[in-house]
Symmetry: none
Subunit: 237 residues, 2 copies
DNA sequence: GAGTGGTCTAGACCACGGC
DNA sequence: CCGTGGTCTAGACCACTCA
């Protein structure tokens, strides 16, 4: 294993091994059910003690990324689609945490004079910024994001490339979210959303509506539609 | 540390140390913010290697039970207050908070040998207790509660009258919930649930699945079905 | 500077799976 | 039987906190 260099903190060896395995999964070198190199093999490959490899793989199992069977081997866990409600969430990070690839398709990015949106943002006058983005996990759509943004809080919103960074990540990076309000519904999607999410007719959506505050201003108001067959919310308290 | 005895599997040392610390918290010997004995002290007390103690405490930190600060010490994490999503736990209180009248109809209250329920409760053998209750707000059904209960934790569960007190209220009254895990789905109800909730065909349900822990035991595992037209989850963060 | 946690090593014994 | 993961030891060096 590489030693720590002069300056610039190096990650712990077990963390590097975790990332290595996650990378293999992200790249598609390892898929669900595939055998992950054994502890002995990783010990040789990384030149570390077995305890170190063991910790890396054990933590990945605790995170649901791997399954380990004594006497048999270590395997990539089947895909699980789930998400936590309580955190202010970034869908891209969640997908990455599962070792999957996130892609986004920007349907629109423009100003909007929708009065209900301007009211939701508690603006005195319009326009508001508006974006519609479909987020994919491994190419499969799992979120339709319909977002209104307060121009006073994020004046450069329209100039961003949201295929590279999610709106959520962009906003959290610029301004700390102080408060959020959410509602969760089970709802049938309209034809527009249903098509973009590639859903069967009759399949319900899990709809998460959220407003977040930065200081005294409503920073953003968003409707997140998720196909029920491929997505659920989860968490612990 | 005790060695493994002749027969009857003994828990790993790190697991015993975890349980020891959890017991101290359950008994109230250790409260939020209190200093947990240092690794060195636990090494002496249990007669194990420091790595073993380290693993026990690290895992408890990952589970949110402890906070560890390098150079300072290990502390009991502050009490995690029930989130909005968990707060629905008592449907009767929610209804009362809206100034409405709550009524309940007990469909069944009995033992059950359902293997998946026994597994969800992490019981070694059955039976489990099982109840099915419909909750009404102003006479309209808004929740179908399908609940399995651990008899070891609530031995008198079957003797209760759940038209007077909700199962949740009963259980919280007897034992403090320490941890909960939940999942939220949008799902089409089966015919049985749909009829009891008086729903239109095609209308989706908001389904909340939750397991709660009392001490080390899974106390209850519940599926809560809500008609999307009359119910949603909400909260602030 | 003493004490804390974070990481790591190079061994070890064991239980289990599959051949 | 061999290879797998699960656990454990008895050291070690380090970064950090706090008095």
């Amino acid at each position: 294993m590489q030693n720590n260099s002069a300056r610039g903190a190096t990650l712990p060896a077990y963390e590097q091994i975790k990332r290595y395995v996650l990378e293999q999964i992200e790249k598609g070198v390892l898929g669900p059910g595939d055998v992950v190199p054994s502890e002995t093999e990783l010990v040789k490959e990384f030149g570390v003690a077995r305890m170190t490899v063991s910790r890396a793989l054990r933590e990945l199992m605790a995170e649901g990324v791997l399954n380990r069977v004594r006497g048999s081997g270590t395997y990539v866990a089947p895909r699980q689609y789930e998400s936590t409600v309580l955190q202010i969430r970034n869908i891209a990070d969640e997908i990455a945490a599962r070792g999957h690839r996130h892609t986004a398709r920007v349907l629109s990015l423009a100003t909007s004079d929708d009065p209900s949106a301007i009211a939701a943002l508690e603006l005195e006058s319009g326009p508001a910024f508006h974006s519609r983005i479909v987020h994919n996990e491994e190419g499969e759509p799992i979120q339709y994001e319909d977002r209104y943004v307060n121009p006073q809080v994020f004046p450069d919103y329209l100039a961003q490339d949201f295929t590279l960074e999610t709106p959520n990540h962009y906003m959290v990076r610029l301004a700390p979210v102080q408060r959020a309000e959410f509602r969760i519904y089970a709802q049938k999607p309209d034809a527009h959303v249903r098509q973009y999410l590639k859903m069967e007719i009759g399949e319900p959506c899990l709809l998460l509506i959220r407003r977040t505050w930065v200081g005294r201003h409503v920073a953003t108001s968003v409707r997140l539609w998720h196909p029920s067959s491929r997505f659920h919310l989860a968490g612990t308290v």
